[in-house]
């Protein structure tokens, strides 16, 4: 068998072992996650494996197959230059398919005044960019990919992995954040141009602190500024679609999600710029009970 290297990472409540046939993606991860704590005793929840697609692909046009404890058939391999993206996708896959200690919402989340703002929507809605931007403007970053909804307490737990910036968001954030917080720029990946950003330090040191959700937004970038009320049935259905493990959690997922829909006010938000979004959010936030 080919030799494997590995590192251990802890992000919010989850611990990972990332094993790789190549050092390069692990060195990049180790650098970007250098301020994160290590999982105790070497014990983790999930193993991610980055392996050559075919044995000869370790050295010749190396191509990375994403595997691990949980995996999908037909996952397309990535070139080694995108190994860091492969590792992040591998961790997301473990969470999406294997995590059961929270209801997982495909959503970003930020926190202010001890309460959480949750933003969910399709890819391209701008939820990830919004969370990154708000995190530089007085909000505490909690996560750009998954919001973890507590099954018993209804609180949101942070999952502050590296922020995955796409396309135009890369340039926008480069104007705001210091150079040493960025990973390598990866051009023309299956998800477009990608560059990872280390979350603000406080997001990492306080990643064990959960917060009560106070507002749920369905942002949509590029449409004329508008806030729209939504029916509970629409909210519920869209959240089941945004959850990777709603079905897998059975009754406890049903209870957590119905409580969330009951208690958390929600709006659809169309916006055309970050300033507009910030203004709309501040307006809603100031009127919360």
């Amino acid at each position: 068998m080919g030799k494997m290297h590995h590192i251990l990472l802890k992000i919010g409540p989850a611990a990972f072992r990332i094993a790789s046939a190549w050092r390069q993606p692990l060195d990049q991860l180790a650098g970007l996650y250098r301020h994160y704590p290590a999982p105790g005793e070497g014990q983790v929840d999930f193993t991610v494996r980055l392996e050559p697609d075919k044995p000869w692909r370790r050295h010749i046009r190396p191509s990375v197959h994403i595997g691990g404890d949980f995996w999908l058939p037909d996952a397309a391999p990535l070139p080694l230059a995108q190994g860091l993206l492969a590792a992040e996708m591998g961790m997301n896959l473990q969470m999406a398919l294997g995590w059961r200690r929270h209801l997982l919402l495909h959503a970003s989340s930020v926190k202010k005044d001890g309460k959480a703002l949750v933003m969910t929507g399709l890819s391209g809605s701008g939820k990830s960019t919004l969370s990154a931007m708000l995190a530089e403007r007085g909000w505490r970053f909690m996560g750009d990919e998954f919001a973890l909804l507590g099954l018993d307490d209804g609180k949101i737990s942070p999952f502050p992995r590296l922020i995955s910036l796409k396309n135009q968001a890369i340039g926008a954030m480069q104007n705001l954040a210091a150079d040493d917080r960025f990973g390598p720029e990866m051009k023309a990946t299956p998800k477009g141009d990608i560059r990872h950003l280390v979350p603000p330090q406080e997001a990492v040191t306080r990643m064990e602190e959960s917060a009560t959700p106070a507002l749920l937004l369905f942002p949509r970038f590029g449409h004329a500024r508008e806030l729209r009320e939504m029916g509970q049935a629409e909210i519920f259905v869209r959240l089941t679609q945004a959850s990777t493990n709603y079905v897998a959690l059975g009754e406890s997922g049903f209870r957590a999600l119905t409580r969330f829909v009951d208690r958390v006010p929600a709006r659809a938000m169309d916006y055309q710029s970050i300033e507009q979004a910030e203004e709309l959010i501040d307006g809603l936030w100031s009127k919360l009970p």
């Binding site: 509970q232 049935a233 519920f236 259905v237 079905v247 059975g250 009754e251 049903f254 119905t258």
Partner: protein, 94 residues
């Protein structure tokens, strides 16, 4: 012989209101259903008895402001068949 129907046992069902709709979590299957009128009302009047569609309509008209006659039986029968395909209502030999 008239086809009778019986609703799934109450302890298998968890109900939750969503505006005008009702959510129904069905424990044995782990499936969440979203039900619109008159399906939730049908469950309410069926309790755990085996009933024919006409008996269900009689109970519905007694409880709610629903017109009997017309196509009421057709509508209720269609809903009952849908619910029985989902395993939420079972067909009982009458």
């Amino acid at each position: 012989m008239t086809q009778k129907y019986r609703a799934a046992p109450a302890e298998d069902l968890i109900w939750h209101d969503l505006d005008s709709m009702k959510l129904l979590y069905h424990r044995p299957s782990g499936i969440t259903h979203i039900l619109a009128d008159p399906a939730p009302a049908i469950f309410e009047v069926m309790e755990e008895a085996a009933l024919a569609a006409t008996e269900i309509i009689a109970r519905l008209t007694a409880l709610f402001d629903i017109e009997s006659g017309g196509d009421a039986e057709e509508i209720i029968l269609a809903r009952l068949e849908e619910l029985s395909l989902l395993g939420l209502v079972s067909r009982v030999p009458g």
